[in-house]
Structure formats: structure tokens, C-alpha cells
């Protein structure tokens, strides 16, 4: 059932009329899945919106939304839009100092916060940003004794809303009816690998078009279930959990807590799933660890059938011709390995799974497709509602992100940059016409900043960030992300940063995966006292060196990549962390910042030293800071002769 309406609030009301009793949102609370029907959602949105209106929220005002994926926070999105206001979701794990910037930029007076933790942060923000007048909280726990002005609970606000609704009959309906497709529907702040965050203004028309394109491509609708567990401030979540939800009319499922997502997913068995590559990586790491702990016969069976899956699994999913014996064996494998594995991953009922946000390692991608999970890629960014390219069923190529989505035009600029024009392109950056002019050209093309190529069938292949792609002294093209993704496919490696632009050789920083390597060490009886100690163990360095040797062998066999093999590496003494500004909130590497912060280590890597002492400031989650110091060893990696292009 598809619903046509020009704005999100009107889409909601249409669902409430057409399928009032169908489940719209579920949330696990006190161990039980609680449901809201479309009629319930419409009623609560109405109460919430009227409550906001009674406090003076009006058209054009911004409502900041801070918290994890909770039904009430999604309702707040639509409530703000119902009043022709604009929801501004913010990353809930941002510290107060980061949040202040966006609250000030968007001149926020009204905030809805999830719980005490967020309220504390907002009260801290209010000290420098007194414009914040009202803070509404969803979970009252621990807030009983707070008596700050302007602080009230979700229920209290709804009560105010009911009174307002009675006193102003027809107000809500008039307000919703007045909304137009060209109104700004949401402001999403870009995490920004460089510089300050910018608010991206997207209209109802753009996001609805983007949502509709996805829903039609994959035939989504009532009966489909999706897990909503990614930050609401991320464009991907907004596309899937708001735009597609309201266009398609399927069911959102909010987990009990961030930790329980895996369990909750197994219980719900979503049919539609979306995760950034790192989530899929994390799941695979968890499986790999458990398989290594399994008994020998199970390990043998797993290895045998996974080898078969790698050979034919992806072809079977693509509908390509596969021999009868292989098909039979695959069916057997499905019974004993792939089926149970999908079940453990909570993916038994998955019809469509998507990944985006960063390039996914081809091996990782192949793994999921080979066990029968229809994992596909799409491509887009905040400025394009995350809607530029989609992989269509049956036309999935491992190396590409698919072809242009309905309503989108693609062009590759002379310097290799991907340019996009069409329905989902941003209206502009909030209060930043200068920045808007930089990315939108006179022909209406948005400059993505990604370097890519279009193949003969019009499929887009992204190579790297245009600004990250460099040249080595020898003239070879250096694409750091490409190499890092190969490294990150190993469960033992959590994060990697490669350097090589304008240098003779490539060198790398590596972060070990504490869980995977810790488990590995325990099984070998290797004693360690925490992350720093483990990362510095000679055995661990050897383990990482083996991974790097495999990547080098891989690079050597690829055309034009042989010269970018990793010469030396260092295992960092601390995890790269968004709290220390080393990663963005979406966990992309901030290359320039890291190069500056760890300049002494880079000099050591290229200076022929054997080890280097470093002392680093770290911020803990509660805002305190401390110092971590270590002496890091520099390890030479094994390199292979590069295959010549002519061979």
C-alpha cells in the first residue's frame, strides 16, 4: 500500500486512516515488545504537537532531538513538522561542547531529550546558550528532583497538548494542511571530516521522493519490519526510519537498549535491514570469534561449507547459472550452516539489507551475499538524502554501488569527482549560502567530493574521497581508504590509517580489535593487562604483520596497486575515538587531524627508527581526561613483487 501526500505529517494521517490498527512502531520495554498502531502514533503526534504549540513553538522554529531510537523521538520529528517547524536530530553521544555549536547555529529554543544523561548535557549547554527555553524528556528516571525552569516530561507535554487541542479545535488540522512540499522538513548536520558541521536543509519533497524511490525499488510496505538502531541524526536512519517508513507504511522496531540490538533483532526477525559496513563487520567478527571457539568437527563443517558458499553462493543469489551438484550441496549447506548462521545474526527473514556510509570491503560484502543475505549497497550523502545510487536485485556487482536511482542524474567531472543532480539534492546549507555555492554549481549539480568512475552499464564505482586520493613519489595513485578497507576486513583489525601521499612508501597505523585479539590471546594463554599492553605484545605484532602481508599480496596482484603495498606499520596504543576528535561521529577517520596529532609517530615510521615513545591525552566518556603513554615498535611488513600491467 503506497500513500501519496506532499508532506510527512499528511502521510502519517493517511496511514492512520487507511491502516489504523496496523503496527507502526514497536519498542521493547520491560522485556516485552510494546506496539503503537498508526492511529496511536497519529494521536500522540497530535498531542505532542499541540503541547509544543501551547509552549509557543511556531512555524519556522527548530526542535532539537537528542537521544537514542525511541518511538517518542520519532513522533517528535513529525510533531515538529506538523506545526511547520523543523526537527533537528543531533548525535546523542556528542559531548556538550560539540552540541552547543549546533544548538546555537540552529537557534534552538525547544529540545526533546531522551533521558537524564541528555538533560544534564543540555542544562550544561544552556549555561552558554540561554536561548534554550524548553527541554522535554522522554524517560523520567533520575529527573524527579530537577526543578530547573522549562523542564518537563513527555506525558506532561501531551497533557498540555490535550488541553490546547480542546481549547483550539481545528488548530492541528489547519496547521498540517498548511504544510507544503517545499517546506524544509529536516535539518541534518553533516559530521564533517573537515571543519565545522553544516546544517543540511532538506524539503519534504526531496525526502519523500528519496523514500519513494527506495520503497518502489524494493517493494516495501505494510508487513515489512525494520530495526531502528542507528543514530537518528544520521541521514541513513532518517531515510529508512522516517522517510521510507512514512511512505511505505511498514513497522519500525526500536531496541531495548543499545547493547541488546543483536538479541532484539533475533526476536523481531526484520525483513529489511540497514547498517553501515562497520556493523556488518562487527557481526562477522562476533561470528568468527565464536567459530574459533567451536569444537573441531563444527569448525571443519563451517570451513567446508563457507568455501562452497564463497564459490557459488553469490551467483545463486544473483540468479546466475550454477551446476546442479553445487546447488544441491548449497541447499544442504543452507540446512546445516547458512540457515542457522542467518538465524544467529537475526537475518532469517531478511528480504533486503543495505549498507552504505563508507566503502565496504569486497570480501565482507561477498560473505553476506554468499550465505544468502540479500545485502546491497547504495550511495549517497546527507546532501542528497543518502539517495543517489542503488543496487537493483539481480544486478549486484561487488565493486560498484549500483546505478543512478530513479529521478537522479549522474555525471563524472573531468577530475574524476562524482556530480549529482535530481530530486534528492539539498536546498542549501542552513544559513551558509557561501558553503552552498561551493557544492552546488550553476547547472544544479551537487559536487559530492568523491572520486569515482561509471562503468559501461552505468554502475558507479567509488574509489575514495577525492581529496584523499593522492600520488606517491613514484607516480602511482594512492587511495588510502581502499587499502584501509582491505585491512579492516580482518576481524583482528578494527581501524587503520594509511599514509603515502607524496611519499616513497606507504606506512600504516593499526588499531587492534580488543575483543577479537583479546579472545585470541586468551586462547593462547597470553597474559595481558589491558589494551595498551595487549597492543604492544610481540605476538600481537606478528599477528598483525601476517594480516598486512596478506593485504600486500592482494595489492601486488592488482593492476596499478603494487606500489602502494604497506612498507611499515605501527599498532597504536589507544583506540581512535570520536571523543578525541580522531574519528567523526559516524566513525570515519579524520586523516588530517590524526596526521597532526601523531606527527611524531609518522616521522618515526619514515625515519627508519625501531621504536617511538608517545604520550597522548585521552577523554573519557564522562568528560574527564587522562594521559596514555607507550613505546611503540615499528614493524617492517613483508612485500611482494608487483604484477606488471602487461603481464
Amino acid at each position: 500500500m503506497q500513500t501519496i501526500a506532499p508532506t510527512f505529517p499528511r502521510l502519517l494521517l493517511a496511514h492512520a486512516q487507511q491502516q489504523p490498527d496496523a503496527p507502526a512502531v514497536r519498542e521493547k520495554d520491560l522485556g516485552i515488545w510494546q506496539s503503537w498502531s498508526w492511529a496511536d502514533v497519529a494521536r500522540e503526534v497530535r498531542e505532542f504537537a499541540c503541547g509544543l504549540a501551547s509552549l509557543g513553538f511556531k512555524a519556522g522554529d527548530n526542535l532539537a532531538i537528542v537521544g537514542a531510537n525511541r518511538p517518542h523521538l520519532y513522533m517528535a520529528v513529525i510533531a515538529a513538522q506538523s506545526l511547520r517547524g523543523v526537527p533537528v536530530p543531533l548525535y546523542q553521544d556528542a559531548v556538550a561542547a560539540e552540541m552547543v555549536f549546533m544548538l546555537e547555529d540552529a537557534a534552538v529554543e525547544f529540545v526533546i531529550a531522551e533521558d537524564q544523561e541528555q538533560v544534564d548535557k543540555l542544562l550544561e549547554c544552556r549555561e552558554t546558550q540561554p536561548a534554550i527555553r524548553h527541554i522535554v524528556y522522554d524517560d523520567p528516571r533520575g529527573l524527579r528532583h530537577y526543578d530547573q525552569p522549562g523542564l518537563l516530561g513527555f506525558e506532561q507535554l501531551c497533557e498540555l497538548g490535550r488541553a490546547w487541542d480542546t481549547a483550539h479545535p481545528g488548530f492541528f488540522d489547519r496547521s498540517v494542511a498548511a504544510g507544503e512540499a517545499s517546506d524544509v522538513a529536516v535539518i541534518l548536520y553533516t559530521s564533517g571530516t573537515t571543519g565545522r558541521p553544516k546544517g543540511v536543509c532538506q524539503t519534504h519533497a526531496s525526502f519523500i521522493a528519496a523514500g519513494r524511490g527506495g520503497v518502489e525499488t524494493d517493494r516495501l510496505g505494510p508487513g515489512d519490519n525494520i530495526m531502528s538502531y542507528l543514530p537518528m541524526a544520521w541521514v541513513g536512519d532518517h531515510l529508512f526510519s522516517v522517510a521510507q517508513w512514512l511512505v511505505g507504511g511498514f513497522t519500525l522496531n526500536c531496541p531495548e537498549s543499545a547493547e541488546t540490538v543483536m538479541n532484539d533483532m533475533r526476536e523481531i526477525g526484520p525483513s529489511y535491514y540497514f547498517g553501515p559496513p562497520r556493523t556488518f563487520e562487527g557481526l562477522l567478527t562476533a561470528v568468527s570469534i565464536r567459530m574459533e571457539d567451536a569444537a573441531a568437527p563444527k569448525r571443519w563443517l563451517y570451513a567446508k561449507f563457507m568455501a562452497l558458499a564463497r564459490r557459488v553462493g553469490a551467483d545463486i543469489l544473483n540468479g546466475a547459472p550454477v551446476g546442479a551438484i553445487d546447488r544441491l550441496l548449497y541447499a544442504l549447506g543452507d540446512l546445516v550452516i547458512y540457515g542457522p548462521l542467518r538465524n544467529v545474526l537475526g537475518m532469517s527473514r531478511i528480504r533486503v539489507a543495505y549498507t552504505a556510509g563508507a566503502a565496504i570491503g569486497p570480501d565482507l560484502f561477498r560473505f553476506y551475499r554468499s550465505i544468502g543475505v540479500n545485502l546491497k549497497q547504495f550511495y549517497g550523502q546527507t546532501e542528497t538524502c543518502a539517495y543517489v545510487c542503488l543496487q537493483r536485485d539481480g544486478k549486484v556487482k561487488l565493486q560498484t554501488v549500483g546505478s543512478a536511482a530513479p529521478g537522479i542524474e549522474l555525471r563524472i567531472a573531468d577530475d574524476g569527482e562524482v556530480l549529482v543532480r535530481g530530486v534528492s539534492v539539498l536546498q542549501g546549507y542552513y544559513k551558509r549560502p557561501d558553503a552552498t555555492a561551493e557544492v552546488l554549481d550553476a547547472d544544479g549539480y551537487f559536487h559530492t567530493g568523491d572520486a569515482g568512475v561509471l562503468d559501461a552499464e552505468g554502475h558507479l564505482r567509488i574509489i575514495d574521497r577525492a581529496k584523499d586520493v593522492g600520488r606517491m613519489h613514484g607516480g602511482a595513485m594512492f587511495a588510502p581508504n581502499y587499502i584501509e578497507n582491505k585491512l579492516k576486513f580482518f576481524p583482528q583489525i578494527k581501524e587503520a590509517v594509511c599514509f603515502g601521499d607524496a611519499r616513497d612508501e606507504v606506512c600504516a597505523f593499526v588499531n587492534i580489535d580488543y575483543e577479537a585479539v583479546g579472545n585470541w590471546a586468551e586462547r593462547r594463554g597470553l597474559a595481558y593487562g589491558g589494551y595498551v599492553d595487549l597492543a604492544g605484545k610481540p605476538e600481537v605484532l606478528t599477528l598483525v604483520a601476517e594480516c598486512i602481508a596478506k593485504v600486500n599480496a592482494d595489492l601486488a596482484s592488482e593492476d596499478g596497486m603494487g606500489d602502494t603495498q604497506i612498507a611499515r606499520f605501527m599498532v597504536l596504543h589507544k583506540e581512535l575515538d570520536p571523543d578525541d576528535d580522531e574519528l567523526t561521529r559516524t566513525r570515519k577517520v579524520r586523516r588530517g587531524f590524526i596526521a597532526g596529532k601523531y606527527a611524531v609517530l609518522i616521522d618515526a615510521l619514515y625515519g627508519g627508527k625501531g621504536e617511538q615513545f608517545i604520550e597522548t591525552q585521552v577523554k573519557f566518556e564522562d568528560g574527564r581526561s587522562g594521559v596514555v603513554s607507550a613505546t611503540l615498535s615499528i614493524v617492517e611488513a613483508k612485500r611482494y613483487p608487483a604484477m606488471k600491467a602487461a603481464a
Partner: protein, 261 residues
């Protein structure tokens, strides 16, 4: 921000003496606990802290002295009676059912609240089933409160120590206690686990108004979260008062740091 009100004396311990044969564990100890406060008992190893707790909760019967709880006078306490009066405790060395899930362990804390008989419970018959559902809801609130949803179905023995301590606290909370006795809730924990546990103890005190009596070794923690502190040494009381008073008490300093002779 903390606006909880400390009330009248709820528990009054008068002149308690306890000995095991010739060994004097406690000598003439008196102190009181006021409603809604966090009261700490500290002291070096073997000072008699756990013995004191065991007297309050009826495990040991002191030879001399008396305990007044909510105006009722007791020569010695009886552990079932104590539980029924709303006093719950956790244990220094954990006394959980290792093979049972987190959920079932906390459920056992609701035992006193269940009215149905053994047979009805075993058959999960009508009223017994309804009763269990009602009790389960309460237990789920505790699980939510202590943020252990992920481990709901995990056997307790498989959990790390810090989490087992949290389950132990959960089971005590399941009794809806008015007074909670905590025996070294932070023993053997790392700094982060200690911070979490301190937060939970303060939250319990704040949210439910539960009076808390705790034994703890970590002076930093005690001074941070307690309203008043009793100091024991070799079975005798050597100090009593606010954290600041106790910290300045010369007897306490010498007991902890040793005196120069």
C-alpha cells in the same frame, strides 16, 4: 539537586557485644541509622564490620545489647522476621544461584511476596500464573533500573564479577526493602565498575528512598557517597560522624595509617 529528606532514626543499635568463644568480635557497639540516609561502616580487616551486619540481620545473635527497628525492641533479630520487616542484604562473597539466569535469581528475591503455595507454583496454575506475571513485571523494572537487559537470560555464573555484584543488588532490591545492607558492594571491582556501582547505590537511595547501610573498604567511595560513617577497629567503635569529621579523627587516622610509637 539532591533534595531527599533524611528522616528520624529507623534502626538503633545499642551496646552490642558479640564473642565467639574467647574471641571478642564486637565490644559495646552503639550507633543509629536514620531513614533515607546512606550510612557506612568502615574499618580495617577483622574490625568486625561483617559481624555487625550479621547481627542486624539476625544471622548472629549478640550476647549483650539490643536493636530497635522502627520503634520495636529486639534482644536479637531473627533473619526471616528481619526480611519481612523490609531489611534486605547483599553478600561480600556473593551468594547467587550460579546456574540460574539473572532473571530467575532476581525473581527469588520476590519469594516473600508470593502468596501461592509450592504446588500451585509448580503447576503454574491460574492465580499462581497471574501472580508470577505481576512479580515478573516488578523484576523487569529492576533489570531496567540496573541496566542488565542484555544479560536477562544469561546464567549468573557466566557473568563477570562486577555484573554478578549488580545482580546481587538486584535480588536485594526485589524485596522492596526499606533498609538495604550492602556488604562490600565494590570489593574486587575496577574503577569503572566502582563508579557504576556507586551511581546505582545513590540512585536506589534517591529513587526509592531506601535507607542504605554499607560496609566498604575503599575510603574514597565511602567518603563520596555516605552521609554518616561509623568506624570500627578490633571490634570497638572508634569514630562516628560525617565523612569530614571522621577523616579528621586522630583515632581513625592511626587505625588506618598506624601510629608512631
Amino acid at each position: 539537586m539532591n533534595s531527599r529528606k533524611i528522616g528520624d532514626v529507623i534502626l538503633d543499635v545499642q551496646n552490642i557485644s558479640l564473642s565467639f568463644g574467647g574471641v571478642k568480635a564486637l565490644t559495646d557497639i552503639s550507633f543509629d541509622v536514620r531513614e533515607h540516609e546512606v550510612r557506612a561502616i568502615i574499618g580495617p580487616n577483622g574490625a568486625g564490620k561483617s559481624s555487625m551486619l550479621n547481627c542486624i540481620n539476625g544471622v548472629y545473635q549478640p550476647q549483650q545489647g539490643a536493636i530497635t527497628f522502627r520503634g520495636r525492641h529486639f534482644k536479637h533479630m531473627n533473619s526471616r522476621q528481619v526480611a519481612e520487616m523490609g531489611v534486605a542484604r547483599t553478600f561480600q562473597n556473593l551468594a547467587l544461584f550460579k546456574g540460574m539466569s539473572v532473571l530467575d535469581n532476581i525473581m527469588t528475591g520476590r519469594n516473600l511476596k508470593m502468596k501461592c503455595g509450592l504446588l500451585a507454583q509448580a503447576l503454574h496454575w491460574g492465580p499462581a500464573a497471574r501472580e508470577e506475571i505481576a512479580q515478573r513485571e516488578f523484576v523487569e523494572r529492576i533489570i531496567d533500573f540496573l541496566e542488565i537487559q542484555l544479560h536477562r537470560k544469561t546464567p549468573v555464573g557466566r557473568l563477570p564479577y562486577g555484573l554478578q555484584k549488580r545482580v546481587d543488588l538486584g535480588r536485594a532490591l526485589a524485596m522492596e526493602p526499606q533498609v538495604l545492607l550492602l556488604d562490600e558492594p565494590m570489593a574486587g571491582m575496577n574503577v569503572e565498575e566502582k563508579q557504576d556501582m556507586s551511581r546505582f547505590i545513590l540512585d536506589v537511595n534517591d529513587e526509592f528512598g531506601t535507607t542504605i547501610v554499607l560496609i566498604e573498604h575503599d575510603m574514597g567511595v565511602v567518603m563520596d557517597i555516605s552521609d554518616r560513617v561509623v568506624v570500627l577497629d578490633y571490634g570497638r567503635k572508634i569514630g562516628d560522624g560525617s565523612p569530614d569529621e571522621v577523616r579528621a579523627n586522630p583515632d581513625v587516622i592511626s587505625a588506618y595509617l598506624g601510629t608512631v610509637h
